[in-house]
């Protein structure tokens, strides 16, 4: 019953795939953003797990950066979304087909 890095990697891969499904299948941009967050978290799990088993803190440092990037992404992404919503009253990704307004 020992938990190896492989276990964490599999968990991470599964979560990542869930994120991919979300991005590819859903059309609500907010959900797609959230799916991206899930993927980032999958990566983080991997990094933390390997940081532990390789006894190297670099993995954890990268998680800090990933979280920072996620915060930036969420802020800008949602800002764009709000601006878009104000003009087109939709959050459907399929209707976001114009380059400018």
């Amino acid at each position: 019953m020992e938990i190896t890095p492989a276990h964490y990697t599999v968990l991470s891969a599964a979560l990542f795939s869930i994120g991919v499904i979300g991005v590819l299948v859903r059309r609500n941009v907010i959900i797609i953003f959230m799916a991206i967050e899930l993927m980032l978290n999958a990566v983080n799990i991997n990094l933390v797990a390997h940081a532990r088993y390789l006894e190297n803190l670099a993995g954890q440092v990268f998680v800090v950066f990933v979280i920072a990037v996620a915060a930036a992404e969420a802020a800008v992404g949602l800002g764009i979304l709000l601006a878009f919503f104000r003009n087109k009253e939709t959050v459907n990704i399929d209707e976001m087909n114009i380059m400018r307004w």
Partner: protein
């Protein structure tokens, strides 16, 4: 043993909540599931002896970023469901298949890489990282070896902040 129980419980929760996030019809519910998912991930970090990251995960992800999502969901109160519009060029099945392929590929990598290492040489036996100083060590690394990335990240956050304000501001 304890770690195994914790891992499997958390794995089930994380994956279950992950599926809930992308399948729930109501966006607000998705956000709630996302928060719970992040909290479970934070607990997983504790299991992995990364207490500082666990706390940061809760503070920044669950307490900050997802609140932002919730705000947007509340502001973007839709008259019609975004899924109602069906774009004929959109191929959801292909998407599912593609995702399955990604999963398979990842699984292949895992099997390939970990299958070849013998248990003896695997670093799995590694004990907890040195004691209580996790936060200190992490801080030390951030401010020495990773100082430049750290500064770049802070500039990135500043840019994001300015960008978000510019984007969200109403033109009057």
């Amino acid at each position: 043993m304890a770690e195994a129980i914790a891992f499997y419980t958390l794995a089930v929760l994380i994956l279950g909540l992950g599926v809930a996030v992308i399948t729930t019809p109501k966006t607000v519910h998705s956000v709630v599931f996302l928060v719970l998912n992040f909290l479970c991930v934070a607990v997983l970090y504790v299991v992995l002896r990364a207490e500082f990251l666990a706390v940061i995960q809760v503070l920044v992800y669950a307490g900050g970023i997802v609140v932002l999502y919730l705000f947007v969901v509340m502001l973007v109160n839709l008259k019609r469901a975004p899924e109602a519009h069906e774009d004929p060029r959109r191929l959801a099945r292909l998407g599912l298949a593609l995702s399955g392929a990604v999963l398979l590929e990842l699984a292949g990598i895992v099997v390939y890489s970990y299958g070849r290492v013998t248990p003896a040489s695997a670093p799995a036996a590694a004990g907890p990282l040195t004691g209580a100083g996790n936060t200190e060590e992490l801080g030390w690394l951030l401010y020495t070896d990773y100082l430049i990335p750290f500064e770049v990240a802070s500039v990135l956050l500043l840019v994001a902040m300015v960008g978000a304000i510019v984007l969200a501001r109403r033109e009057s």
